[in-house]
Every structure is written in C-alpha cells, then in structure tokens.
C-alpha cells in the first residue's frame, strides 16, 4: 500500500450532523438535513458570524449524535473557505474544544475526516471532523457584493450554505472509516473561476485512481463513488476521463445532488459545506441503514484565491479521498 494512503482498522464513525440553509432545505436533499435554517443570518449580525454559528451547531450536533457532551470532544478538525479560517476558529473560540483548522478549499472536509482518523487510530480520542460554508459570506469574498447584479455562466457553481460533521473514535460501529488518501495538487491550466468542474476533474480522477491502486480494489466493489462538487460539467468530464462503464454507474456527485435544476444553480452546489453535509446527512445514514456497504468520497477543492486568478494564474485543484464501510455491529 502506498504511504500516501492510510488504512484504518478500528476507526468508527459514531455520530453525524448536517445543516442546510434555506435554499438547500428546499432542494431534493432537503429531508437529509438534521437542521434547516429558516433565514440566512440565523440571528447573527454578519454572514461570517452566521457561518461560525453553523460550525458550532455542526460540531455540537455530531458530538450529541455520538452520545457525547461537547466537553467530551478531545479534538475538533474543521475547515471553511473564509480568509484565515475565521468561522472555524471563531467557532472554536465559542465551543472551547481543542481545534485544528485545515484548508484544502472544498476538499477540506475529507482532509479533516482523514486527520481525525489518524488522530484516533491507536489512541482513545473522541474527534469531530467537519466543514461549513455560507453562500453569502463566500460570495462576497470571492466574487461580488450580494446585491450587485451579474449574469452567471452555465458552468458556474453555487456555494452551498451548509455544514456537516462526523464524530470519529477508535472502535467498531455501524460505519467504519477504512482509508484515507492524500491528494496531489493537479492543474490542467484552466483559468476560468466560473468553471470549477473543468479545473477539478483531473485532480479527482488522479486521487481516485491512486486510492483504488492503494487498496487494490476495483470500481465494482463500491456501492457509490462520490465526488465533492464537480457538478454537472465536472462529473461528465470525470466519467469521460474514466472511460469505464462500472465507474460511471457507481459515480455520483454531492454538488450535483444538492439542488433541483430549476433552483437556478447552473452547475450545482459547491463549497466546503456541500460535501460535508451530503456525507453527514446522506451517505453515512445510508450506510448505517444497510443500503450501501462500501462508499468512496473524493472531496474536490479548487485552490485559487481572488488575487491568484486576477494575476492570471491558472486554477490548481486537489482531491482527498476517504473510504467508508459498513461495520459489523
């Protein structure tokens, strides 16, 4: 097994919590959320503070789902898209549990879960891993003021207002964290910040292939292979790159699943919270229920900043992969 893939023997996912914003709650995955916000500010003064509140709720929800008190959590690993990870760190100021902030853009969630797995393997820790994003906070940082009108291109994704967190601990449970593959940064030279699918599909394919080789598996062994937020365009590109009927049959994309076509989101959902909420609200519960036995999640992240693309840099991307499997208990 390659040393950039870690296999876990005894790491269980024992709690999960997913939060959706107003628009996400109205989408086809609305019923999966443990909590849906009725308004985008959720009683806070700023979008950034609202995102931090979402982070606290997600961490707390996952801990409670595991039957822990918030104070029982030994380490929180989390990430978001805002500069200096303000929502993750400001949430940590509030919940007061030891926290590792991670950044891999929209791949942060898989990185957080993988690190939580490493933390738990061979120890006795109680870890919560999660990621969160708020559409309006991210939009004003990466694009334009909210009320400024502009036309979105058909390839543009919609940053989800969503959060998801998993409680992870050594042991056996209904869902096991089986493996974690660290992604390489891949850059095909795409420069369009309104087309993340094109920028990220090669990174997703690279990491998925490396993971499959590392665990010596084949696509037919998986019930689903989820990518994070490649959307409609990136998913089509990925299946073209894979050129494999079995892969196309088991592949699904979290961002593409989050909204209905008539919700005016074009390529689908994106953002750190998108894959996190779908894993915590949809994938883990489906494994718990016995619908799926083995699922791969390749969270995809576009590693650009407003400065980098204004300076003409192309958009590098990364995909980190986690493998989830039904446990024996």
């Amino acid at each position: 097994m390659s040393a950039s893939t870690r296999h876990f023997e005894h790491v269980a996912v024992v709690g999960h919590f997913a939060i959706g914003g107003v628009r996400e709650g109205q989408g086809p995955l609305g019923p999966i959320f443990d909590h849906i916000w009725r308004d985008d500010l959720a009683g806070e003064r700023t979008w950034e503070a609202a995102e931090g509140k979402m982070a606290v709720q997600a961490v707390e929800g996952a801990a409670h789902g595991a039957g822990w008190q918030l104070g029982d959590v030994d380490v929180v690993v989390g990430g978001d898209l805002l500069d200096q990870l303000v929502s993750t760190n400001f949430a940590a100021r509030q919940h007061q549990q030891p926290t590792l902030g991670v950044f891999a853009a929209c791949a942060s969630f898989a990185e957080a879960v993988g690190l939580a797995g490493l933390w738990c393997e061979g120890g006795s820790a109680r870890a919560v891993a999660g990621a969160w994003s708020h559409h309006l906070a991210v939009e004003r940082q990466f694009r334009f003021p909210i009320e400024f009108g502009y036309q979105r291109t058909p390839t543009a994704s919609w940053t989800a207002t969503a959060a998801g967190a998993l409680a992870v601990t050594p042991g056996s449970g209904r869902v096991q964290l089986r493996a974690f593959t660290v992604g390489r940064v891949v850059d095909p030279g795409s420069t369009d910040p309104m087309d993340m699918g094109t920028a990220m599909a090669p990174a997703a394919w690279d990491s998925l292939q490396r993971h499959l080789r590392a665990v010596d598996g084949d696509w037919g062994q998986y019930d689903r292979v989820f990518t994070g937020d490649l959307g409609v365009v990136g998913s089509a590109i990925l299946c073209d790159l894979a050129h494999d009927d079995t892969f196309s049959r088991v592949h699904d994309d979290c961002g593409r699943s989050l909204y209905r076509p008539d919700q005016d989101v074009h390529n689908g959902g994106s953002g750190t919270g998108c894959v996190a909420a779908v894993v915590a609200g949809h994938i883990v519960p489906r494994i718990e229920a016995g619908d799926w036995r083995r699922v791969l999640v390749a969270a995809t992240g576009a590693l650009f900043s407003p400065t980098s693309y204004q300076q003409g840099e192309s958009i590098p991307a990364v995909a980190h992969v986690i493998e989830l499997q039904a446990g024996r208990s």
């Binding site: 003021p145 909210i146 400024f148 095909p188 030279g189 094109t198 409609v232 073209d240």
Partner: protein
C-alpha cells in the same frame, strides 16, 4: 512559474461545457434593457410636459433612473433583473446605480470609513476610471481637431 496548459484535456473538457444561451440572453437583454429605456423615455416626457426644454430633460431623468436603480437594489430586486436580463439591466444608468449601492450595502458592516468609504467603488471604479480617462482623451482630440 506559469502553469503548463494541458491542451488535450482542455479540449476534452470543452466538449462537456454547456453552451452559453447567446440568443436567449440577447432576447432577454432586449426585453429588460428596452423596458428600462421605455421607463426612462416616460420620465423624460414627464419632465418635458412639465415645462423642461427637451435638451435639459436628460439630467433630471438620469437622477430619477439612478434613484430607481438604487431603490430596486435596496429592495433586493435589481440583481434578479440583471441575472435574467444581463447587459439589458447593467448598461442603463440604473445599472450603474446598482454597482454603487450594492457595495455600499455590503460593506456597511465593516464601518463607514474602511467599509463603505473604501469599498464603494469596487465594482464601479473601473467604469469611472476608464470612462473619465476616455472622456479626457476624446476631449483632447476634439480640442486639437476641432480648432
């Protein structure tokens, strides 16, 4: 170090990119932009009917259209208009008002000086800089050629 472009991959990806609905966008832009212009014309006619000479009615019309653009931005409606109407909503002077008022609303939370004051021109700044710049150049040409 500039990144090497994977030309083969980008060609493969381009096949999966949905085309921009250019004709539909043009029709919508015509509808939205045309409606804004009709409203502008009605406002001008109003001022003319109330005693303004036609040559002077443009200024108060601009004031009213900017006011309407600002109002609809504040009501959270102007961005929806542009989302469907594209340039039909952006190009008229009401769109300029949207470009000014949207940042003013957005950065209020960062305070009046470092928020609104510093970021008021984040969207409209380039339009003003190059608009004034080209006006200066055209004026200069007219001064030289016209004299």
């Amino acid at each position: 170090m500039p990144q090497h472009k994977d030309v083969d991959y980008l060609a493969l990806a381009a096949k999966h990119r949905p085309p921009t609905p250019v004709w539909m966008n043009a029709v919508r832009a015509f509808g939205v932009g045309g409606t804004v212009c009709v409203i502008g014309q009605l406002v001008t006619d109003f001022f003319v009917a109330h005693g303004q000479p036609a040559s002077k009615a443009a200024s108060p019309t601009a004031v009213v259209m900017v006011g309407l653009g600002a109002l609809f931005t504040g009501l959270g409606l102007y961005d929806r208009l542009v989302r469907s109407g594209g340039m039909g909503g952006s190009l008229p002077i009401s769109g300029f008002a949207n470009a000014m008022v949207a940042p003013a609303m957005e950065y209020r939370r960062e305070g009046l000086v470092l928020g609104v004051g510093a970021k008021l021109f984040t969207v409209a700044g380039p339009v003003l800089a190059y608009g004034l710049g080209s006006a200066f150049v055209v004026g200069l040409v007219r001064l030289v050629v016209g004299s």
